[in-house]
Symmetry: C2
Subunit: 428 residues, 2 copies
């Protein structure tokens, strides 16, 4: 497999802008870029920050090698002066932002990149690619976790997403509270617990279902999960318990009316003495389907397509905008987008009970401090050097606490407004 | 950046199935797996095969290194016997399938993987990840190209997709007929023409718009595209022509009512003598928005979010199913999914005029030959060795010809049925 650097995961125009700015002397102007969204996906009540730690690694390794520089020159993307500059490039600015697992709303400055124009503009596409993808998945996953009401959800959607996006999706889903992923690369890279036992193909491979189950139990023990819906589910359950005994850890059902099937399966398992055998259901589950199974005797959910595609919102709508040049706020003015220039400081305000009430975002200033305020930005890179970050498990716990802190309407799956308002205070 | 092999871009259960099959002696059974879809995304009239050449490279490099094997053992995913087997693994089977750029419909066997159970089952997730993603993008992109009616479309959606998915999306969009991509990695890896000039940030960086335009023209010449909507569009156009002269190649408008703005901009450009200056529009364009601009004086479209997210269908719904074991057709029977077992041969039937009429897919046999039939499957790997494939430009032309060959209703953007039927003929 080729070893792509992160440096060409970039739009052509970033390099032509750098090229022109190097010629005219503006390349070194001190700039601040911010990442935020103007709106959440339709009906969503919150966004979830995810991917920033991934981005930090990609920024750290953002270098141009000889082959890339040669290609950039041959393709006419950059001139010699720019190529020479790129050959020495490393990001030496600062990156601050919301913690992974933090909630965000329209106007929240979830990432702030400061440094020279040239070094900051180069990161636009990469920063947005990582955050737009990872935040989209995390928000969908968080809704599924809420819908599951404490039951474990397993991410098994790799096959429905680009092979590398799948790894990042598994990371976002775990951050959002999923218990396991099927994706092995996510296990190796991020330490996420992986899970998986067998597909229908394994049953079809064998001479009959009982032979497949016997093979699986011989290899994996009774702690495995037997997939019982290749032929007839009731017979499948009988075969499973006949082969594994009533200590079988779990069965999985991947098709059909899961509500009815979960009931019948529970009754049948109980009648066979397998009262502790768990029922795992999967098959096109999204947050609504999970919620609809709340009253059924289901122990675990497997979610695939819906989580890795953001359940209708596959990208988070984040933009990367220049807000400050040499200390002066700047803003595109041709539209009514209510964008405010200047570097922002953001806090979330809470009631004494801990319930969040609003977010205050102040341009080129600091919000007045009140009790129960929480500063939302932390440092990610200082002078190009990564700062030590919380682990994925801590970020996961942070999100859990954030979701507890928002008004209860915020956890509803139905369409609604952002659960708390963001007030952006312009520069005086 | 870490150098992931493709081997862990795989679901946990594939390795546990291999492990159990190695123990019980079924791992070497000769199997055939097929990739197909049961339905197209709602309302879509065709699917487009894309990504197969990318998959072939990943399969060729599908190896487990020492670190991966150590992790798999430590994490308890596989036992020693399986780890030893994996350490020697390389795919030695055959892969056939539809050509890239070929159309497909529900039931079309777009990929056929044959070999031992163990070697074929390992490829399930990787094959589906690549094809589900790339086919989804290609189908959306093809609809945009149709809507553009011969005008050039530029892919600029990298920032809305996972950073590596963006590169694959650019490839699929080019295959589907897009003229350019903004993504530099796609340019380097696949030879796709890249394009880009400047963002709003470049204008905001400078003391005024004219200074920004002058810098850009100095660096890139009059063949550049000036982005005129940072402040006031009419003034932006006047500034652009004042700086570059009437030979300016193009302006770009990225916001507002593009229909009205295109008209006003054309009139203004003409009045300034810039009658040859092109108008490029961008900003949340999907196939419907592009179609709605057909009568406007637009020369080029920039498409972003919609194309990289499959315009509402971010994954193609393809599945990877075991259809044959040791020459015997197999099929999961618990559902009414009308899946037919056995290795399939597929042809497309045409009228003497060249219009496609239907697809015939025969299990364990060969369709009777008629004039104007076309065999749809070609070889990708033989005994694990890749076969030489057409280049991306040839695949692009193939799709163009395929779209000419389908009944005219197939090109409508409105919701409809698959444009030709697929008849799957079971084993006798």
């Amino acid at each position: 497999m080729s070893t792509p650097h992160s440096s060409l995961l970039t739009d052509h125009y970033e390099l032509t802008m750098v090229s022109a700015a190097l010629r005219d002397g503006t390349a070194d102007r001190q700039c601040v870029f911010e990442v935020f969204t103007r709106r959440l996906p339709t009906g969503r009540r919150y966004g979830v920050v995810a991917g920033t730690a991934r981005l930090v690694e990609l920024v750290r390794d953002f270098r141009f090698d000889d082959a890339e520089l040669a290609w950039l020159r041959e393709a006419g993307v950059v001139d010699e002066q720019t190529a020479a500059w790129l050959s020495r490039f490393r990001f030496t600015g600062d990156i601050e932002g919301y913690a992974e697992g933090e909630l965000f709303f329209p106007g929240s400055p979830i990432l702030t990149v400061s440094g020279t124009f040239a070094e900051c503009v180069l990161l636009e596409t990469l920063a947005l690619s990582v955050l737009n993808h990872d935040c989209a998945i995390a928000a969908a996953a968080a809704r599924m976790v809420t819908a599951a009401r404490g039951r474990t959800v397993i991410e098994m959607g790799s096959r429905r997403a680009h092979e590398e996006a799948a790894v990042a999706a598994a990371r976002s889903a775990y951050l959002a509270g999923f218990g396991f992923t099927s994706n092995l690369a996510a296990g190796q890279r991020y330490g996420i617990p992986t899970a998986g036992t067998a597909a229908h193909a394994f049953t079809l491979l064998h001479d009959d279902e009982s032979a497949a189950f016997a093979s699986q139990v011989a290899a994996q023990g009774k702690g495995t999960t037997l997939l019982v819906d290749t032929y007839d589910i009731a017979q499948g359950i009988r075969n499973a318990i006949a082969v594994a005994g009533p200590d079988l850890r779990a069965i999985r059902i991947d098709s059909g009316d899961l509500s009815v099937l979960a009931h019948h399966s529970r009754e049948l398992l109980d009648s066979l003495g397998a009262t502790e055998t768990k029922i795992i259901v999967s098959g096109d589950l999204d947050e609504y389907a999970i919620a609809a199974l709340a009253a059924e005797p289901v122990d675990m959910y497997g979610a695939g397509t819906a989580v890795v595609t953001g359940s209708g919102a596959p990208t988070a709508g984040l933009v990367y905008k220049l807000v400050e040049v040499d200390g002066r706020p700047v803003v595109k003015r041709s539209e009514n987008k209510a964008t405010v220039g200047g570097r922002k400081v953001a806090i979330r305000r809470h009631k004494p009970t801990g319930t969040a009430t609003e977010e205050i975002v102040v341009s080129q200033g600091v919000p007045d401090h009140r009790p129960n305020d929480r500063l939302l930005q932390r440092s990610y890179l200082v002078g190009g050097e990564p700062v030590e970050l919380p682990g994925l498990v801590e970020s996961r716990e942070h999100l859990r606490q954030c979701l507890i802190s928002i008004p209860w309407e915020g956890l509803k799956l139905s369409a609604g407004d952002p659960t708390i308002p963001v007030t952006v205070v312009p520069t005086n």
